[in-house]
Amino acid sequence: MISDFSLIEKTLAGDQSAFEPLVNRHKAMAYNVALRIVGIEADAEEVAMDAFVKAYNNLKKFNQESKFTTWFYRIVTNQALSFKRKKRIDTVDIEKANAQVNHANGSLHQKENKLLVAKAIHSLSEKDGTLLTLFYLKELSLDEISEMVELTANNVKVGVHRARKRLAEAMKAQLGSEVYELVRD
């Protein structure tokens, strides 16, 4: 597999098509991180796209001493935060999470799980949500995550552990409220 650095060098040398594999490689991270911040799927996709365009236009400024993911993660988060500020989206409410999940394809069981996770993740803090998002992205190692969020690998490990616990607590609360709603109805 061609490294990120080689692709960047090719792009800088004028081969625009070399940027395409970079987009394919990092689009999942960009989209899911943006989604954790802006909360709406369509907006997250727009933010991720703009982040790639911004990265392309500023590729010359990329200091090759750090990893591309680290540099690009900052572009995505900054883009998402300024988008959120512009749109004045303070929080993503449960109805929005429900609407997103209801559009998801799959079996009833899958939908229930998706709904449960979506509701729980939206109740977490932005920091916890982003940390879990980066952790559950298969392609990122703990070292990479630690470089991206500017924490030590050990702190990331502890942070993920705590965030996982909080996620489970939120899921438990969700399950509890669903049972309560069933009894009430």
Partner: protein
């Protein structure tokens, strides 16, 4: 999802339980981008480079305009124009400096366009 597993994660999970929990969460948490995502990004990038290339045509147009102005009077000895208005007489106006001034502005415009063009080329390179 099993409530017992969630409760175990909250209390004191073993590595196996954490792994099981992660396996359930990962596919439910990660969302996929649309199929046309990469294509759309590349399409957004394309115009920026094309824009830089198109600027050369503006420079050519500017040069043609300047050349035509200079050809049709800029270099010749401009004859003074006498303008006489009813009841008000104005002094004669020298057109030569005006045309030369206009030519100078055009040259500055071309230099500006060239500067922008090379800046954009540097950015996109």
């Amino acid at each position: 999802m099993e409530k017992e597993l969630i409760e175990k994660i909250i209390d004191n999970p073993s590595d196996r339980e954490i792994e099981k929990f992660d396996q359930v969460i990962r596919p439910n948490m990660m969302k996929n981008v649309s199929a046309s995502f990469t294509k759309n990004v590349m399409a957004k990038i394309q115009p920026a480079t094309q824009k830089a290339d198109n600027q050369i045509w503006w420079i050519v147009a500017g040069m043609i305009m300047t050349a035509s102005i200079w050809l049709f009077g800029g270099f010749g000895n401009a004859a003074p124009i006498e303008i006489t208005l009813p009841k008000v007489s104005l002094p004669s106006i020298e057109v030569g400096p005006l045309i030369k001034g206009f030519g100078f502005v055009n040259i500055m415009l071309i230099l500006l366009l060239l500067d922008r063009y090379f800046q954009r080329r540097r950015k996109t390179a």
